[in-house]
Every structure is written in C-alpha cells, then in structure tokens.
Amino acid sequence: MTDAGRAKEKRARGQGFFALVALGGIIVAAVALGRLGTAPTSAAEGGAARSGSWYCPHGGGEGWEVRLQVANPGEEPVRVRVASFGEEGPAGEPAEFEIGARSVRSINVPADALGAGAMVEYFDGFAAAGWVTESADEKDVPGGVAAEPCTRDVGTRFLLPDGTAARGEDAYAVILNPFAQPAVFTVRLYTPGERPVETPEQVLRPHHASAIHLNEFGVLGQPTVAAEVKVSVGRVSAATLGQTKGGGLRASVGVVSGSPQGRVLPGGLDTGTADLAVMNTTTERIELEAHSFTGSGDRTTAGAQGQPVSPESAATFRPLTTDPTTLYVAAANAAIVTGRRTSGTDGDRASTVGVPYGTTGPWVVLPAVGGRRPFDTRLYISNQSPDVAAEVTVTLLGAEGVSLGRDQQRLSLKPRVTAYVELPHEAPHAAVLVESTGAEVVPAFTSYSNDRTGYAVSVGVPSPG
C-alpha cells in the first residue's frame, strides 16, 4: 500500500472512530438526560377563591324539625347560600345570607319527608355546617334528636356502616342529589353472615332527595345493615337515618372510602355501652384493633379488640366504655369503615362515623342541641397522640349579637386522654372552635335534653385554619 493509500485508510478509520465516539456520546447523554428528568414548573398560587359546599342528607318526616347550623370561625364575614331539596325537588328558592366573624347561625329547613336534604355553599371564606333533627312527638313517646355535621363528600360511592334492622329499628339511607344531573344508583347491603343484597337500580332526579328503607330488602332482624351506595351515573351524597320505636333518632353521614389508619369515634354522656358497627366490603377477612382513649389514658377495648369481620359482610360489636371514652378502631392491612351507635339513657340514640385517625384541626364543632327542649351539652376532646400532650383552646362561636361572657377556655390533655368541657348554660346553641398545639385532638359535642329523652353527638369538622 502506498503512503497516500495508508493515509486515506487512516483518515477513514478516524472518521469511523469519530462516529463511534458520537454514538457513545449520545448514549451517555441519553442516560444522563433520563436521570435529569423533567423541569419543575412554576405554578400560579391558588387560594384566592375560597369557597366550598356542605351536603346535608338529613332526612325528615311529618312534624319533624331540622335546623341547619352554619358557623364562621374566621375573622371576616362569609356569604352563605342554602338550598333545600326534597322528594319533589327543590324546596323553594335558596336562602342567601351572610354570617359575621366568629359566629354561628341557624336556619330551619324543610324536612317533611324522609327524602330531604340541603346543600350549604359558602363563599369568600370558610363556614362549617351541620344539622340537628328533632322528630315529632308521638302520643307519649317524645321525639328523638339527631345531630351530625354535614359532609363535604360527594361522589359515586358511599359507605354507611351504622344501620341496623333489629327489632324496633328502622334503617334508612338518605340520598341527596343537589346537582343538575340525574343520578343512577343501587344500594348494596352487608349483614353478618349473609351474602350482600343489592337493591334495584334507582334514578334520583336532579335537585332531589330520597330515602331508601333498608329494612325492606330482606335484612329484617339483622343487627347490622351496612349499606354501600354505588352510583353509576352522576353523584350523590348519603347519610343514614335510624329510628327506634321508642322515639330514638340517630343520623350519620356516609364516608366515601375506608380509613387505612383507622378511625376515631368520640362519644360521651352515654350509658356506658356502645355499638361498634364495622363493614368489610373486601373479599378478605379483617381483624379489628380497638383502643379506648378514656379519661385516664389508652387501653385496649374489650369486646372489639381482635374481633374478625368476614369478607363482604358487616358486624356489630359491643365494647365496654366508660364516660368519657373515645374509640379508636383500625384493621390490620385494610381500610376500616366503622360507625359508633351510642345509647342515651332513655331511648334516644346517637350515631357517628367519627373521623379518620390523624385528621388535623383546628376544628369547628357544631351544636348538637335541639330547639324544642332545654339541653345540657358537653364538649368532649380526645388527644390522638400516643406520647405528646396537647394544649387546647376552645373558643365559643355564638349567634351574632349575643354575648357569651366567658368565650374562651384552655385545657391541657395528656396523650390519648379524653376530657370534656362544660359550656356556659347561656350558650347551648353555640358552636366552638377547637385549636390545639403539641398534638392533634378530636372534639365532639354531646347533648342531653333535660328530660333525658333527647341525646345527640356531633363530631367536629376540620377547618382550614
């Protein structure tokens, strides 16, 4: 080969080598870029438009009285719009009003049929809403009282764990569709030891509410009738309404999903017994872990701890409680859905699904007091933390223009201890704002009518602060 030929060959090899280097560079760059990933985006700040809505599937009946309580824990007035819906559609024009700073306002809403509900919208701030239902007195049997915060949840699946169709009990699922689109749904009923039962598909027209009498679907006599509302078109909000022959009344809003961390179910002023209803919609057996946060601290809950719940079923346990006792219930490897039915001393009952464990405050607790009879009320507060004490401040939110005198109280709570606060008698219809430092707490109002025939529990709702 000549020198020129060799030089040419060398150049050609050089070019090939350069191509290989380029290929190598591309591969290295590809790996590096893959690791670098995408750039963070600069997002516009939200929070300028503060508004929200509460759904209150309270139900009703002839002669019943339902009072919505709307509390504004903030420092600025809040505009509120309340729309009511019944089995015949919207019940009149929506009411619009403004709630002043740190105050609560009540408004009676139509509730003359089982299918009844309301939607509370608030604008330019935050307001919490709840309802108190008082059923009508029948002959010698005084009507019951039920209190429950409205729910922010709206969706295509609702779980209602606390129903019972035991003798003397009527269980209803109150379904509210406040939206402009029809909802199509079925209700699947879970009972102990039986296969779930599903109701036929039902259509709930826009801006309507309805009630499903769960007893009618082959579950009569079952101590536990947990309901799963499944919506195939549209969305709804749902709650249970339970009535006893003795005049008892309880209500509890549904939850859209189970709580992997467990649930906290406050209570107090009760007779010392509670029904713990648990529903298991999964195909796996679950086992309960139950604790009681009492006045003296944490202890396992006899009667519930370690109890199994079969797949696709519901069960009721009766743990022993003292006053005060807040229940903490969880399930290993499963999201728990549970409710607490508490009996009052004279026939009336209360019910709550509590809050997911770990929910943070501050909390607004709405009154659990009916309007027909004088009531005593207590605010129960439970420290969720296993090892940190909580410093709690309770601020009364009274009706506008009403002076409450002592409007703020402070207390200290040891870990996993439940305590209560007596509220001034002059403010039975006041709401409270509960703020804590150190540890997270869960508050709830309980109330008794002075004649002991009305008993209600109202768990607090978190406020955006």
């Binding site: 040419k8 985006t41 300028a48 503060r50 406040p178």
Partner: protein
C-alpha cells in the same frame, strides 16, 4: 451551382405513366450559414422531374445573392418581409410555373436533403398503393449529428399541443423505420400534393413557423387526406429558428404564447361544433389551472403569454371563423378518426413526469459528468434500468403509489377529523373574513391578528369550489410530497447526485416525525417541515463560500420562504435559528461572516415584514407563540424522531438514525466538513428537543417538533452524503469495514424506505373520516351555541383527544401538573393556524386552574363561567388523581356519562355574549375578584345575536352586557341611545352597564386598522412576488 432541372416539369398525372412533377419551394431567411449545403442537397437529388423556386424572405446576410448565383434571378422570389411558410408557398403558387406541379416540396434553408429524399417522398406518396396522400414527411435528423433524430412524424394532444414520440437526443437505430401515418410532419422537408393545397388551402399564415405545419396537416386529415412519414427520405436539419441561430435573430421568449395561441386557434378551426362544445371549455379550464400553477411558481411572464394567446384569439376570432368555415366545408372525416393519430393520455402522463424531473431540480447545478460517475458504481446493477435512466420519474411513480394508498383514508363523505387536525370553517369566505377581521373570533377572542396563512387556505378552498374541507384534504395529502421535493432540491445542491438526493428526500418525507405530522393532520407542522429544507438550502448559500448573484432577490426569496413557514408554523424560526448558529460555528470555508450575517438579517426583516401583524402579536405575547408543548422527554423516542403515539413510531424508525450514523462514518474527505455540520445539527436538535419536552427551556424556545424536524433533515442529509461517498468510491475498495458499512448503508436505506413506505401505505392514521370520539357529540351538540370547551390533560407532551388540538398552557406542578387549552365547541380551528393563545384571559384561566388544584373552592364552574366554558373535557384516565377528585367535588361541574372521555358540564356556564341582571356577577365583573366570582349563579340571561363583528340584543330593564372575549380597545356599546366603550371586566373580558334598556348593539370600531394592515400586507406580498418572479421557461 446549378440544378439539373431548370424548367418546370410537365404535368404527367393526367396520362398516368410519367413520374409526377415536384416543385421544391426553398424558403430562405438569413440562412447563409447552411444555404450552400441546402442547395447542394437539392441539386444532388436523383429524382428527375424536379423544379426549384426559392423565396427569400428579406434576408440581410447575403442569402438572396447566393440564391441568385445558384438558381438565377428568375427562380428567386424576393420578398420585402418574412412571410413564413405560408407566405412563401403562396408566392410560389401564384407563379404560373407552379400551376402545373403535381407536388410541392417545402424545404427550409437550414435543411439539407439526402440525394434520394425527393424520390423516396414521391414513392411514399404514389408508390405504395395508398390513396389520398396529401402530405408526406421525411426523417429529419440533426444537422451536426446525423444519428440523432429530430422528427419522425409527430402527433398532438386533443388540445393541439404538439407531441413527438422521440426522446431527447434519441439516436437512430432504425427503430422508427417504417412508413407510417401520422398526424403531422415537419415542414423542413414536407411534400404536399396538389389535392392538398387545392382542397385545404395554404398553411395558416397567422400561426408562425412553429405551429403552422401541425395545423396544416391536421386540416389535411380533416379533409380526408393522409399524412405519411417515410424513413427513406432523410433530411438534415439545423432547426435554426428554434435555436435563434439566424443572423440578427434574438432568442424568442414567447414559446408558450406561440403554442397556446396556435392551440386555441386550431381547436376553434378544426373541431366540429359538437366536439368544440366540450373541448373548448375543457381547454379553458386547463388554461386556468395552468395559470394558477404559474401564479404559484411566480412565472408571471408565462401567465402573460397564456393570457396574450387567448386575447389574440379573441381579437382574431373573425379571421379564425372564416378559416373554420373553409375547414369544415371540405371536411371528409369525423374528429374521432383524426383522434386516432393523436396521443393517448398515458403517454402524456409519462411526459409529465419527465417534465417534473426537469422542473424539480430548478436552479440546482448538477455536474455534467454525473452519468459517467454513476457509471462507475458497481451497485447500480441492483437497480432497474428504468430507475437508472429516469430516477426522478421513478420516484414520482413510487410516491404516487404510496401517496395513493396513504391518503385513501382522507377521501370520504364525512368531515375530516381526528388527531390534531383543525376544524375547517364552513366556507372559504369564513377564512377570508377571519383574515380581514380586526378581532379574533375563536377561542378567547381578543385583538390578535389572523395569520396570512388563511389567505393560502382560503385561496385553495376557493379553487376547490368553495369547499374548505376538500381543500384541507388536498393540502394535507400534498404536503408530504412537497416536503420530499423540497428536501430533494436541498440534497441535490448538497450532494450534486440525483439518486442519493432522492433517497435522502424519501427518508426525510417518510421519517417518523413526518408520519406523525401526517397522521395527526398537522397542516401547520407539515408546511414548516416542507419549507425547512428550502430555508436550510438558502441559509447554506447565504453563509456558504460564495455570494448569491442577486442579493436582493435572494434575500426577498428566502424571506418569502420564512414568511410562509412563519405564517403556518412560527416554530420554524427556532429551527432556522439553530441552522444559522451551526453554519456560523462550523462554516464551509473561512470567509468573512459579515456579508452572510447581513443577508440573514435581511431575510429575517423581509420574512417578518411579510407577516408583520403576526410578528406584532408574537412580540406582544413575549414570543411564547414560537413554542409548542408537544413531545415527551423520552430520549429513545426522540432519537428515532418519535414525538408521540402515531403511525411511524415503530422500531423501524431506528433505521434512520442508524443510517445517519453509518453515513457519517463512511463519508469521504471532501464531504467530511458538511457531514460534521449535519452531525452538529442533529445533536443540537436532539438536545433542544429533549430540553423542550422536559420543560427545561423557556416556553419561547421550547418546540420539540421544530427541533426534531431539524434532526430529520440532518439525519436524511447524513445518509445521503454517506451514500454519495459510498457510491462514488466503491470501485477498487477492498473488502473491509468500509465496504461492509457501504453495504449496510445502501441496504439499510432501501429497507428503511421500503418499510416506511409500506407503513405509510397501509398503516392507520389518526386523521380521517369521522375520527372523533364517540362521546364528542355530547359536547358539540349542546344548545344554545356560543360556549367554549376547556381541555385538560395530565399527560406531558401529548395532544388532547380530537378535536382538542395541542395544549396551550400548563398549570400546577409535580404530579398535579395540568396541560390545558380552550377552544370553541368545534374544537381546534383552522382559523387559528399560525396564531397562538395569549392574553389576560389565559392568565385568568391559569388562576382558575390554580384554584382547582389548590382545592380551596368547590365552585370552579362559576369561575369558568366568565370564560364561557360549558364543558371541561379530558381523555379518560389521564388526569392527575388529585385533579380528578377535585373536579368530582365541584358543585357546578357535573360529570356526564361519556365513554372514552371525561366530560364535565358546567351548570354555571353563561354564553359568550349576554345581557343579564345579576348583582353578584356585576360586582365580580367589576372587581375581578376570584372569590367574588365563586358565587356567580347567573340564571336570568338574554343571549345577544352575533352580527358581523359584533352583537345585537334587546333588554327591557337594562342590566349588564357581558362579552366573554378578551378585552380590546375599540369595542363600543350602544344602548338606550348612548354609546360608550366596553370596560375591562375580570381584568380580561368586556362588559358594560346597559342602563335604560331598549336595543343594544356592540360593535368593533377599530376595524380600519386591520384593513390598513391587510392592504399593506398585500402590497408587501405583491412586491415580494414581483421581485422573486421567475423567468419564462424556454
């Protein structure tokens, strides 16, 4: 010199025994250079009964004297002007010596008869038992190269355009040697029988030398006379008139004029009335199409020639009709019998491809020794001979076959939809109206100018009988081939070899990114993709070693390309900028950069000026309109030019980058620098494409499709350069890595092209007939109209489901990032081609989406109400979980059952133009406070009626007028007899109090600004087109 026969021949036909007499009519005009040979040819004839009369048509080069010397004064007729063939023959026939001739033989002064020519002509006329022979033509060969054929008897198409069966420079191998009947023969040596001139008269003297022989022979045919061609009579011919080789004759620039003029005249004269009724309109249509084609290619001189030809025929209609009368009076045969001698359509198609092959290279200089160089390539045996000899025509055929199958899905009864194809308006007029409108009528409105691209789309729609949908289909189908042609021209200049340039063009047009653009119906991108190689070519010239000859023309011409690209696809600026930077960083040779940079600046200024309203908007929007949010940051996808799921995203797409790398590896020394530059372009393009898709670049510079188009150009160029290097240097190369790479390159290119072609032909495309999601009518068919659609997606870099188009903005971060766009209910519109979404309305929308993501409101529907958003649409399961759950809890957004889509209906939506009386809304409108807007619940609204650019309405109790379009000064409200400007509402829209009630009118009063802009723009384009006009083809 003297002829053998000096007296006129005695008539002999009467007795039937003697040979017929032939009178040679030698027509002379400044033919001194060839006249001696011509006379010698006549003198050397073996035929005995031959006479000669020469006609000197006012020669000035001494030809007349030469004739007199050779023939004597009495056999030379001197004319004072150039009377042409017809005039010369007429002069001769008026001479009493011609009265007795049986035949006349026209001979040009640049024709030299072979000795046997006359005898053979007469033999063909009388000796082969064929009756009624009117005209006999001879085998005309080249004067200097007698083996090269010039005429073997010709034909024409139905419209009288001449057609020769000969290939260019076809050599005589005897392949045409048989006496044949033809339509016409050359008058260079044409034997005309007495019957012919008596029956049909003389050639039409008005048509000129280039067309009168065709017309004459056609008429002979009509009169029932045969036109024969004999190969035995040979004549050498210069073709001096065609070559402008005569003394004192400049080249005739009016070839098209002559041809068109003669064609129309021939049609008018020679067809029967029944035929004329369809031929003439058809020809008029064809001429119109021709004019449009010439208009597009800026050949104004040829347009003038076509127009002049028609005008001439109008002016001379009376004379034409007189001649027609004579033609039709002697008619013996039907038109159909004449058609037998005209060319069939298939031959015309072949010729058309050949013409394309000549036209497409344009001004590109290809070395003359190409054939010789290609002859050295051993791999050429792999190709068929047809492909070797006519590679461009073969490529066209292949392109048409692939294009036919690939575009089959485009032709159907339903509207074109799917992918990202924009919805066309109902009529061409809508496109022009939007172009001229002072305000934007789509999306969120505002004062954004429409792109000049609408003028192109409108014109095409107008041509397609006012059917924009058809125009869109045609445009879409045409763009990939146009991109291939554009790339071919670029590569031809780069490589100077046709076959590698063709392969490179094929690789470019069939690259994954091109197929993605076609699959999604991205007209804007495909226009840019087609223009990019032309810009690359021009940038290479501007920054290359030489300097363009006509700098202004070059600058304006390149500016026109840039403007076309910009008008459709502003992202082309980014691709061009990368090209400029790479050419500056790696220049071809050391040279002063200033002149090139000056040219580039000039191009930029010209391009910007030609779309200046668009540029103003781009600048006002912070140039974000240059960007695109399409493309995912997947390196493996970007490397093979894949931008998203589409036909062409298969693994075969790896072949192109592999070919590029192989091409780079085998490139020879002479092309190494160019290859390095393309490698740089590819690497830069890939890096920028990834950075764009990953969000690391500012929006102004983020355009993954633009950078990938550039990479496709670089890949195809590297492959073509590699092929040139390999094909040119294989002889003598020993078997080794280089040879292996060469084989890989060639086989790889073939496989890549074949597979991509097959995929293109038989793959499925996103765009087609009725390709919209089944659930889309839920959104599109709602009433009343006058609402908008908000599109959301959580998927980076992907378009929305059809007809949502591409995201125009992004909100949120991390896993909750949302890509969004807002459209009318028809989806993305063709009226917005080249125009981006910008303005305060989009800022408001971003704020609303921030509220949605923040979760601090359940009244997003109310916040969207001012935007006129009635539907929020997303592809199923692509929204971030958090966003979906927040949408699910909105009080005023109801999810609709819609398979394949997530559709939320906004119950608080209000039409885009209303009168209402709602205090909350009025307060929110004025304050622009989002919190106040959450309480919007407008129930008592009266919709305004659109009227041109504005709305009309009526109100009994006053209220507020609300127009959900972006604010622009110039809007005025007239209500209750008072006129006032509309206020800025919510910080971005239009509103005003219409106190007093009564009739309400909203009008835009700054329309004159846009009108002036468009007038200025039209003038600029006219100037640009005039400066860059092309000379007529000769």
């Amino acid at each position: 010199m003297a002829t053998e026969s000096t007296d006129l021949p005695t008539p002999s036909v009467a007795d039937g025994t003697a040979s017929p007499s032939v009178l040679v009519v030698l027509i002379v005009r400044n033919g001194g250079a060839w006249l001696r040979d011509s006379l010698a040819g006549i003198a050397g004839q073996t035929y005995e009964r031959l006479g000669v009369i020469a006609v000197d048509c006012a020669s000035t080069d001494g030809s007349g004297d030469l004739l007199v010397q050779a023939l004597d004064e009495e056999r030379v007729i001197r004319l004072a002007h150039d009377a042409g063939l017809s005039g010369a023959v007429q002069q001769v026939l008026e001479d009493e010596r011609a009265q007795e001739a049986d035949y006349i033989l026209t001979v040009h002064d640049d024709s030299a008869l072979a000795p046997e020519a006359v005898a053979r002509l007469v033999e063909a006329a009388e000796g082969i038992d064929v009756e009624d022979v009117g005209v006999v033509g001879s085998k005309v060969v080249d004067w200097d190269q007698p083996r090269a054929l010039v005429d073997v008897g010709s034909s024409s198409d139905r419209f009288g355009h001449p057609y020769s069966p000969l290939e260019s420079h076809e050599l005589d191998h005897g392949q045409h040697d048989r006496v044949r009947e033809v339509l016409w023969v050359s008058s260079a040596a044409m034997l005309i029988s007495r019957a012919a001139w008596v029956r049909i008269g003389l050639p039409d003297e008005r048509l000129g030398s280039s067309s009168e022989d065709l017309d004459f022979c056609w008429r002979a045919r009509i009169a029932g006379l045969r036109v024969l061609w004999t190969p035995l009579a040979v004549v050498r011919h210069v073709g001096a008139s065609g070559k402008s080789a005569r003394v004192g004759e400049s080249r005739r620039p009016h070839r098209r004029y002559d041809e068109e003029r003669a064609a129309v005249a021939a049609i008018l004269k020679n067809y029967r009335l029944v035929s004329l009724l369809w031929i003439l309109p058809l020809y008029a249509l064809q001429s119109l199409a021709k004019v449009l084609g010439l208009l597009v290619s800026r050949r104004f001189d040829e347009i003038r020639q076509v127009g002049g030809a028609w005008l001439w025929n109008v002016v001379h209609l009376f004379g034409t009709l007189l001649r027609r009368r004579r033609v039709q009076r002697v008619r013996r045969v039907r038109d159909g019998q004449v058609h037998r001698y005209m060319v069939p359509g298939s031959i015309r198609v072949r010729r058309w491809f050949e013409a394309l092959g000549r036209i497409v290279p344009g001004d590109v200089d290809v070395p003359d020794d190409e054939d010789q160089q290609e002859a050295a390539v051993p791999l050429r045996t792999m190709a068929s001979s047809a492909v070797k000899t006519h590679p461009v025509a073969a490529a066209w055929v292949a392109a048409i076959v692939v294009g036919y199958f690939a575009s089959k899905h485009l032709w159907g009864a339903g509207p074109l939809s799917g992918g990202a194809v924009p919805a066309m308006p109902d009529s061409a007029g809508d496109l022009f109206r939007e172009l001229l409108a002072g305000v934007r009528t789509t999306a969120l409105g505002g004062a954004q100018a429409a792109s000049p691209a609408l003028a192109v789309l409108g014109s095409i729609s107008w041509v397609t009988f006012g059917n924009p949908d058809l125009a869109e289909r045609l445009f879409l189908a045409a763009l990939p081939p146009i991109a291939a042609v554009s790339m071919y021209r670029f590569l031809l200049r780069t490589t100077a070899r046709r076959v590698p340039a063709l392969l490179g063009a094929g690789l470019y047009a069939l690259s994954a990114v091109a197929m993605w653009g076609f699959s999604e119906g991205r007209i804007d991108f495909l226009v840019g993709f087609a223009v990019l190689p032309r810009l690359a070519d021009r940038i290479g010239v501007a920054l290359g070693p030489g300097t363009p000859k006509r700098r202004v023309r070059f600058m304006v011409g390149t500016g026109v390309f840039l403007a076309v690209g910009l008008a459709f696809w502003p992202g082309i600026v980014l691709a061009s900028a990368v090209l400029v930077v790479v050419y500056l960083v790696a220049p071809e040779q050391r040279r002063r950069r200033a002149p090139g940079i000056g040219l580039i600046i000039g191009v930029l200024i010209t391009g910007a000026a030609l779309v200046f309203p668009l540029i103003v908007d781009l600048v006002q929007g912070g140039a974000v309109g240059l960007g695109s949010r399409v493309g995912a940051p997947v390196v493996a996808d970007l490397l093979r030019l894949v931008l998203g799921p589409a036909t062409g995203d298969w693994q075969v797409a790896w072949l192109l980058p592999a070919l590029a790398l192989a091409g780079f590896a085998v490139v020879d020394r002479a092309r190494r620098h160019g290859a390095l530059r393309f490698l740089l372009i590819a690497l830069a393009g890939l890096a920028l494409a990834w950075a764009s898709a990953a969000g690391w670049l500012p929006q102004q510079f983020s355009n993954a499709p633009a950078y990938l188009a550039l990479v496709a150009l670089a890949y195809a160029s590297l492959a073509a350069i590699g092929l040139v290097s390999v094909l040119g240097k294989m002889r003598g190369t020993s078997l080794g890595l280089r040879r292996l790479l060469a084989a890989v390159l060639v086989i790889g290119a073939a496989i890549c092209l074949s597979l991509q072609s097959l995929l293109a032909a038989f793959g499925g495309w996103a765009v087609g007939d009725n390709q919209l999601p089944a659930a889309w009518p839920i959104v599109a068919k709602d009433t009343p109209p006058g609402y908008r659609v908000l599109w959301l997606s959580g998927r980076r870099g992907e378009p929305f489901p059809a007809p949502g188009g591409d995201p125009s903005g992004v909100a949120g971060d991390g896993d909750a990032t949302l890509w969004f766009s807002i459209t009318d209910r028809e989806g993305v519109s063709a009226l917005d081609i080249g125009r981006n979404e910008q303005g305060a309305g989009y800022t408001y929308l971003e704020d609303v989406l921030a509220e949605l993501q923040d979760g601090s409101t359940t009244h997003v529907g109310a916040l969207l109400a001012p935007l006129g958003v009635r539907y929020v649409v997303a592809e199923e399961d692509v929204l971030p979980a958090g966003v979906r759950s927040r949408l699910g809890v909105q009080v005023d957004l109801d999810r609709q059952p819609a398979g394949g889509l997530e559709v939320y209906r906004n119950v608080d939506a209000i039409p885009d133009a209303v009168i209402f009386s709602d205090e909350v809304f009025a307060e929110a409108r004025r304050s622009g406070d989002l919190s106040a807007a959450t309480a919007i619940e407008v129930t008592d609204v009266s919709q305004l009626t659109p009227v041109g650019i504005g709305w009309d309405g009526e109100t009994s109790a006053g209220g507020d007028v609300w127009i959900g379009d972006q604010y622009a000064p110039g809007w005025r409200l007239t209500a209750g007899g008072e006129s006032r400007p509309l206020e800025r509402s919510f910080g971005w829209a239009l509103g005003a109090s219409a106190s007093g009630g009564g009739m309400v009118a909203v009008r835009y009063e700054d329309q004159w600004i846009r009108t002036a802009e468009i007038a200025g723009l039209a003038l600029l384009w006219l100037a640009a087109v005039w400066i860059t006009r092309k000379p007529a083809r000769r």
